[in-house]
Symmetry: C2
Subunit: 243 residues, 2 copies
DNA sequence: CAGTGGTCTAGACCACATC
DNA sequence: ATGTGGTCTAGACCACTGG
């Protein structure tokens, strides 16, 4: 029975929140099946229909994937063939789907500047791990990424460990450090290439680049990654769907 | 009762499709209320719960807005205070919400080139109406838009008629021509400013601009607008939410 | 007050996957 | 055959809006 006001919150959303807490706590790991609807209904003492609405809300947020006949699975970055491009918006102009190769340039440690600290909800000076990497399409350099992570969440992240891993960056974070990237906010600008970036991206200094700044969130909207990509948009573009 | 296979389609989705057809045909106009769930249930001979799922699907696609206690309303671009920024992604860097002023430069007629014709599913040479306009934030020119429309759908569109209208462009299209913009696909690049655009946007020639190319769709995913915006991103950016 | 959409339940049945 | 999620129904009740 739902809590009768004030500030009414339906029962199914209360259960959504409980399930989200369990996901955050790691009660079921990414890729694993959650308990069936009937079992969850017993656990929370509600009808199967109410559990269904609760789980549907999780599925709508991509926290969970439902498979008819099989069960409900915790979403993962590891095997997502369908939504492989959910966090990768750069496409070829000719429309062909190409998944870029990632080449790691370096991994270093820094102290957070004031602005990055604010975006990651850290204190200025808190330790960061900074990765720099290239994304190459058909062997050509297209994106230069700088990725800042709170060192506290990514203990033991080294260059060789990244290079030993085969799969996407977010799959790496998820399996190796238990940090799940759920959503992100991006801000785009057009800026002139500085000398160093120009050299790496093989363009003239001052040439227009697409700058993509991203803050990535995990459960509870906690920010866990700051990223800036510089993209040479000669033969590629940033694709966005407005619903 | 749902059609029993093959290629199974649930009853509520069949009804969603019927409602969508009615919306397309203009059975209820934007801003108007649709019939109540109970009435729709009678009309289609299904339960209220099934109608509810059908309408929920429309609401998820932003075709319709549900208001508890009042009814279900056909979505409109005219009064959307909440989702005013659904099709306008340019924001101020300082985070303040500002709705830009629109200044119309000219309205002209052209014949469609091969590429625009393909994007708008027209034949090359079909007549187009082309609007050019500026978006100004706090009096400063920020975006230079070029908007191409199939002349067949926008008969009688003139400069003075646009200028006489108060409201957004899509509100204008909706109320004056019955063309409803529902979703869009955008491609972004960073390009150097050409001489003419540079002058209008008050930047140096060659300065990086954010180029935003948009194809906008109406019911049935029919393309009805092609648009290219050039954005000076000194104090503004393109904001995107990755779900 | 009556009418709307929103929640919750219980039960029947369907589609799909696996054994 | 069994278990999963997905659909559909019918009915009761709740929250909100407006006259």
């Amino acid at each position: 029975m739902p809590t009768s006001s004030p500030s009414f919150r339906p029962l199914y959303l209360q259960i959504t929140r409980l399930l989200e807490k369990s996901l955050d706590a790691g009660e079921w790991r990414p890729g694993e099946a959650m308990p069936s609807e009937i079992e969850l209904a017993r656990r929370y003492g509600v009808s199967q229909g109410t559990v269904r609405k609760a789980v549907a809300a999780l599925a709508a947020d991509n926290l969970v994937v439902r498979r008819q006949g099989k069960g409900t699975y915790v979403a993962t970055h590891t095997e997502e063939r369908t939504s492989m491009f959910r966090f990768l918006r750069i496409r070829r102009d000719d429309g062909r789907d190409e998944y870029p190769a990632s080449r790691l340039l370096d991994v270093r440690r820094f102290k957070a500047t004031a602005d990055v600290a604010r975006l990651l909800e850290l204190k200025p000076g808190d330790p960061l791990v900074i990765l720099r990497r290239m994304l190459e399409y058909s062997g050509d350099p297209v994106v230069l990424d700088e990725i800042a992570l709170p060192a506290a969440l990514f203990k033991g992240l080294t260059k060789s460990r990244v290079e030993a891993y085969h799969g996407s960056m977010y799959s790496f974070f998820e399996t190796q450090f238990g940090v799940r990237m759920l959503k992100a906010q991006e801000k785009l600008k057009a800026i002139p290439a500085d000398a160093a970036s120009a050299r790496i991206l093989n363009v003239a200094p001052g040439h227009p680049l697409l700058a993509v700044e991203r803050v990535t969130l995990t459960y509870g909207d906690r920010p866990v990654e700051w990223r800036r990509g510089l993209c040479a948009t000669h033969h590629h573009h940033y694709l966005n769907q407005l619903g």
